[in-house]
Amino acid sequence: MTEEVAPTITFPRPTNAAITMITPLEWWGVPWLRMQFQATRLFPYLKGLEQFRSVYFSRWSIVTGFHHNGPPQIKERPRTPYLVWEVLYSAETGPYIESFLTGIRGHIKRLWDSSQGFPGVDSVTDMSRYIADLSWADSYDYWAYRDASVRMILSGLEVSKEHAFLTSAAQSCGPEEFATIYTGFLRRRGGDL
């Protein structure tokens, strides 16, 4: 097969979007990444994603080969290992990449520094082009909650935590006391509504 070209993606719609990016690694990429991943297992904050309320899920895998299931599968022995990154997010893709380059540039550099052709973290345009060039569009996707952004979900979960207390208070308090409790709820959770 001649060298395939990853389809150029037009970056997807703003809510519930995903990127699958596959990058070939330098010879030192596998031990380097294993060390990085070990570090984030010990210190999860090193992932740096917690601060962004726009990522649902993300995963990184190192692929060094393919299981051979038998003919007619061709035995492939890639010379280069690959880093497969998938991220599911809710945001416009351009600002999403920009905010990550601004907020966690060190993390991004550590994770993709060993990927061939990595343009570095100084230019949003170069990084966006790199992601677009090496991403694969999905042919099918399913979301259990297609229209809910990460922010909506996190807010909903916060509101849920207080709902039982509010319900109980409503059933046991008088109007004046409940109005005070409800005002406190709005002060704490107003931003989540």
Binding site: M1, T2, E3, E4, A6, T20, I22, P24, L33, R34, R41, V55, Y56, F57, S58, R59, W60, S61, V63, F66, H67, N69, P71, P72, E76, P78, Y82, V84, E86, L88, Q116, G117, W136, A137, D138, S139, Y140, D141, Y142, A144, Y145, A148, V150, M152, I153, L154, S155, L157, V159, S160, H163, L166, A170, P175, E176, F178, A179, L186, R189, L193
Partner: protein, 182 residues
């Protein structure tokens, strides 16, 4: 679904039968118009099917000495189950739809042979070396939380126009409650 199990990533990478790549992409496109086989699985937050091949060579990359010659179907999902439990749920709940997808892949045994199905999926699975999840909730908990947030939002709008003495009664009515917990 495994109670209390956090959202867990699953990934399976299977070789597409030579010559069937276009048919597979066409089938996956058609699936978008039909009820999703994943909708029947309560544990599934998200599922994706991506057909991949040799990575494009761009500036700064080395010349590819042994380019990939096959296309592969990358299946990823996030579910509130261990991978094997999720795949069994998928097999037993949506077996025929699963066959229609993976019949395009080399040596897929079909969903009726439970042992070989799981062996195939396990042998072709891709481990995640690092993961991130924004929340630990189940799909059901997420949906409930979203609905509850909507109800609270509509009540908060309503409550803005009420004197504080009427908020209590309006809250009880809005959420279908009665004073005293009856």
């Amino acid at each position: 679904m495994t109670a209390g199990w956090p959202p867990t990533p699953v990934a399976v990478l299977t070789p597409v039968l030579p010559g069937r790549e276009v048919d597979l992409v066409g089938h996956l496109g058609d699936m978008r118009e039909e009820p999703s086989p994943f909708a029947a699985l309560e544990s599934t937050h998200v599922a994706r099917l991506v057909v991949i091949g040799q990575v494009r060579t761009i500036a700064g990359m080395k010349k590819v000495k042994r380019p990939l010659r096959m296309r592969y179907l990358l299946f990823t999902a996030v579910a509130n189950s261990p991978a094997d439990v999720f795949l069994e749920e998928l097999r037993s709940t949506s077996g025929p739809a699963v066959d229609e997808v993976w019949n395009h892949c080399v040596r897929y045994p079909g969903h009726r042979d439970e042992t070989r199905f799981h062996e195939y999926m396990r042998q072709n699975s891709v481990d995640a070396q690092q993961t991130f999840r924004a929340y630990d909730a189940t799909v059901s908990e997420v949906r409930t939380a979203l609905a509850l947030r909507r109800r609270h939002l509509s009540f908060a709008r309503k409550a803005q126009a009420l004197p504080s003495s009427e908020i209590h009664e309006a809250f009880l009515k809005h959420f279908g409650l009665s004073a005293g917990g009856d």
